[in-house]
């Protein structure tokens, strides 16, 4: 360490700069290369083979894993569930996150503490959240049934997860509880970067609250919005923890990542799982890319 320091120090701006830069990024190259990029390439290659630890040989099977996936009714159900998770989570997180961000932005006193309360769910382990919420959803003694019954919304206790749509929604809600703070903070940062003068100008032009939101706020937070939307999408596409704890292997709430986990680690079909995980990754990347492009294009027109 000491010798490196003195030699690097003497080198100053010259050729040493490149050497030092490379030395600093070597750990990054090693870790990211070895644990992310190499496995990613392996995933692509191995998804064309039959890799199954319980069976000898790893023959080339071409696109068979993919055609099998397309024909697997469990996989289709898992895709439908995941799409439902993504749609609900993205909408709820964006609407709720934006509302929370606007509220936080308008609070002067004690914002620090309100912020702390809002980010807290994001900081907790998702499995613990799922356990806590599962108790709230409990059909016999859960808070949700008690609350809705005392409000007169329902007459008898409901077994929430008996309805597939409700089950998907309730799991999404737990996910939203954790992820909404992230959206809120991203949007709050965007809101805070809007110069006050713009609102003054809009007011002088006779714009009301709604109009100035449309004309000033929305275009100026669109960058943050694009980031928030992509974040929500990627995380919802990869929903595992909450759905696994609350729904287990049940098909009605099974997400694509649960299907990957079950294929690979319960049924030990590695390459089948790899093919599916690759498709999940591509799908989430494509969807988030669409947001980014659309949001950017729309803001440019304004």
């Amino acid at each position: 360490m000491a010798t490196e320091q003195s030699t690097a120090g003497r080198l100053g701006f010259g050729n040493g700069e490149a050497a030092l830069g490379l030395a600093f990024v070597v750990p990054i190259v090693v870790i990211m290369g070895g644990l992310v990029f190499m496995p990613l390439v392996t995933t692509i290659v191995d998804s064309l083979y039959r890799v199954d630890p319980m069976r000898a040989g790893e023959p080339f099977v071409g696109l068979k894993n993919y055609t099998d996936l397309a024909a697997d009714s469990n996989v289709q159900t898992a895709w439908a569930n995941t799409l439902a998770y993504v749609a609900m989570a993205v909408i709820l997180e964006t609407v709720g996150g934006l509302a929370a961000a606007l509220l936080l932005n308008s609070v002067r006193h004690g914002r620090q503490w309100l912020l702390a309360a809002v980010v807290l769910p994001w900081c907790l382990p998702p499995v613990v959240n799922a356990i806590v919420w599962m108790w709230i959803y409990n059909p016999s003694y859960g808070l949700l049934n008690h609350a809705l019954m005392s409000l007169g919304v329902i007459d008898t206790p409901q077994v929430w997860f008996n309805d597939r749509g409700t089950g998907l929604f309730l799991i999404t809600l737990v996910h939203v509880w954790r992820m909404m703070p992230l959206t809120a903070i991203i949007l709050l940062a965007a809101l805070q970067s809007i110069p006050k003068e713009l609102y003054e100008a809009a007011k002088l032009d006779g714009a009301g609250a709604v109009k100035s939101f449309q004309m000033v706020t929305l275009p100026l937070i669109s960058g943050g919005l694009a980031i928030a939307l992509s974040q929500s999408t990627v995380f919802a596409f990869n929903l595992f923890d909450e759905a696994w704890i609350m729904g287990g292997s049940g098909l009605g709430t099974r997400s694509v990542i649960i299907q990957v986990y079950m294929s690979a680690f319960q049924n030990l079909r590695f390459s089948y799982g790899m093919a599916l995980s690759l498709l999940a990754m591509i799908a989430s990347l494509v969807v988030s890319l669409i947001y980014v492009l659309r949001v950017y294009r729309e803001t440019r027109m304004d």
Binding site: D52, P53, M54, S73, N74, P139, S140, V159, F161, N162, D163, R164, G248, S249, G250, L251, G252, M262, F265, Q266, N267, L268, R269
Partner: protein
């Protein structure tokens, strides 16, 4: 400043309670044996203490819910690490685990012991004993006779139809809301209960070539699933059963809110009749599994303990396995956990002493025990079973029809088999 002081205090407090436990763990590590078992393998403290005193080995029993255990064992065995130094081995895993060579043959177990445990045969692979049974589970109808009396019913049901009729009578008499206890979550217990009902309807799962036999409308399997769907629709099964595992149904039975534990675990009668653990201790009784043919059928689901090849401390593990199989320990496990003793001699002794609850019925049912797969459990069983549980769960939630469910199950079986 204050903040920093508080944080360092927290850190110190953390260190204070971690360090003592660490040193304790290291002090004992020389002769500790880690064991991975399901909840009904979590032997009481008085037994673990006694084991330590008798053998000098400290037990560290790690308990996991049934549906987690196999995955945990499989993922660590594929990784060539041992999930524990001794683990659960289910009857249904022997084919797969034996073929993979994951479990060490237990040559040290004496021939006398093995001869006294008939179900040990199921745990042999290639003639080698891979695990020694500790639970001789088979299924029997367990019911609450007080509920039957209140509804004016004289005798336990002999056929599935009678079971349904009695349940309706009990419900309409207002004795309990949901008389039939059957798990319907996407867990293994849901699948095994359906296998049992399939037998009750005179059916079998597969023919000799593993061709599914449950898709036909007249088949036992189809009727069994229809029975479950109808019972649920008629309000005889709690709608919340879609989220309940077998062990949770057992809790409901113990609390007196269920009349029939349809897929009752034979040994559980010991727990159900224990007034410290059950509110229905005086009312519980057992009957032969109902059947449409008049000939009661059931199947065995014995569980055993084996030693992974990748585990160290093989000797201590064998010591533990032998100790669990001692007659006095099997009796204590039966009384505290409801695991039916695997030793024939112990069963006979308990029955003679009148300590086997509903012993005559148990022994009568024991004579009808058959294996679920006559030609041996195939390696793809876990995948099939998980598909069965999923399908039943969907039927119960009215997401698919019975026809769709049996077709789905058959497809899965074919796909898993042909891979």
């Amino acid at each position: 400043m204050k903040r920093r002081n508080f944080l360092s205090l927290m850190a110190a407090a953390n260190a204070a309670f971690i360090v003592p436990s660490l040193t304790r763990a290291f002090a004992a590590s020389g002769d500790t044996l880690t064991v991975l078992l399901p909840p009904w393998g979590t032997i009481p403290k008085q037994m673990t203490d006694r084991f330590a005193k008798e053998t000098g080995i400290t037990l560290n029993i790690q308990t996991m819910g049934w549906d987690d255990i196999r995955t945990k064992i499989v993922t660590s065995m594929v990784a060539q690490t041992a999930p524990a130094q001794a683990t659960e081995v289910d009857w249904s895993w022997v084919g797969q685990f034996g073929a993979a060579g994951w479990y060490a043959p237990l040559d040290e177990i004496s021939a006398d012991t093995v001869a006294d445990i008939p179900t040990a045969e199921i745990f042999k692979y290639d003639g080698k004993l891979l695990a020694l049974p500790y639970n001789n589970d088979f299924r029997i109808l367990i019911y609450n006779k007080a509920h039957l009396e209140k509804a004016g019913i004289k005798a336990a049901p002999k056929s599935p139809e009678e079971l349904m009729d009695q349940a309706k009578a009990i419900k309409s008499a207002g004795v309990v809301d949901y008389p039939i206890g059957l798990p319907m979550s996407a867990t293994e217990g849901t699948a095994t209960a359906w296998y049992l009902l399939t037998m009750a309807f005179g059916g079998d799962l597969f023919d000799a070539d593993f061709k599914p036999l449950f898709t036909d409308k007249d088949s036992g399997g189809y009727k069994a699933l229809q029975f479950e769907a109808e019972a649920l629709k008629a309000g005889l099964i709690d709608p919340a059963a879609t989220g309940l595992k077998d062990v949770e149904i057992q809790e409901l039975f113990k609390s007196g809110s269920v009349t029939f534990d349809v897929a009752g675990w034979a040994g559980n009668l010991a727990v159900y009749s224990d007034k410290d653990k059950s509110k229905v201790s005086g009312d519980v009784d057992a009957a032969l599994m109902p059947s449409t043919s008049g000939k009661s059928r059931t199947f065995g689901l014995p569980e055993a303990i084996g030693v992974p090849t990748s585990a160290d401390n093989h000797e201590a593990a064998v010591t533990f396995i032998e100790w669990m199989a001692k007659p006095e320990n099997e009796i204590e496990i039966y009384n505290t956990l409801g695991d039916l003793p695997p030793r024939l001699s112990v069963l006979e002794q308990l029955n003679e002493e009148g300590k086997l609850f509903a012993g005559d019925k148990l022994l009568a049912q024991a004579k009808t025990v058959e294996p679920l797969f006559k030609q041996g459990t195939p390696g793809w069983y876990p995948e099939f079973s998980s598909a069965v549980a999923s399908a039943i769960n969907q039927v119960a939630k009215e997401q698919i029809s019975v026809d769709e469910a049996v077709a789905q199950m058959a497809d899965r079986a074919e796909a898993a088999k042909n891979r």
